[in-house]
């Protein structure tokens, strides 16, 4: 009788422990899939990193001079926008694709 109870207890503990690790693994896999689906594909990211290494410095320099507030001495609204763009550019300094998007915005909204 005692042996039976011991066996059942051992089996129960084994089931609980296995279940715990299984649930943990399922949760991890769920998170992994979500994160992987959230980003760009690897090729796009790799290309952006390579382009950022080679071209972002130059692009940043040319854009930051374009959005200098002194370029719009008579237009307060544009000055404010230029300041915003300047902050955006500084944040995306090393990201080529983001710099290109900001460049399009600058061209449509400031010039």
């Amino acid at each position: 009788m005692i042996l039976k109870i011991k066996t059942i207890a051992v089996i129960l503990i084994a089931v609980i422990v296995t279940g715990f690790f299984l649930v943990k693994k399922i949760k991890k896999n769920k998170l992994r899939k979500k994160v992987l689906a959230d980003g760009d594909d690897y090729s796009t990211t790799a290309k952006n990193i390579a382009l950022s290494m080679s071209k972002s410095k130059e692009l940043y320099k040319s854009l930051i001079t374009k959005v200098h507030p002194d370029r719009f001495p008579n237009d307060i609204e544009k000055q404010k926008k230029a300041e915003q763009f300047s902050a955006m550019l500084t944040e995306a300094k090393r990201n080529y694709s983001q710099l290109i998007e900001i460049k399009k915005l600058i061209e449509t909204e400031l010039y």
Partner: protein, 143 residues
Amino acid sequence: MSNIITRISTLLNRVVDIVSSGSLERVRIIKEFNMVFQEAYQSGDIDRLCTVTTGPGNPDFRHELSSFYLRSAFKITIHNDSNLNDNDYYDISKYVIESAPFVRQLMALGYDTLKIVGKNTMRGIQIPLKEIANLHAYMLNNR
């Protein structure tokens, strides 16, 4: 001869990655990066030839999705590494860790360490990915 050894070690690395992670994702990311870096170097877009491999990570940088520490570093080796100082390594790393979604992708693939090393000088840096992107915060924000 060295070419054959490189090919064999690449093949072995791929097999270990597939077996340890249970998917082809790690092989894909490394293949894509190596292809893009090689093309960029050959076309003159970048002046340093970089190759990406999986290497041993730092056990102190572990996070909840880390794989076995011997396979947990996303390692970028710079082949023409003459005249590179520590600041240059940090500069290169900044381009890689610029995008938080990409860092999270690396973490989801089991990487916990970003290593940038010079092939000849053997110098380099290692960066804990968990300090760049936080998986806990991501989980809470995307419930």
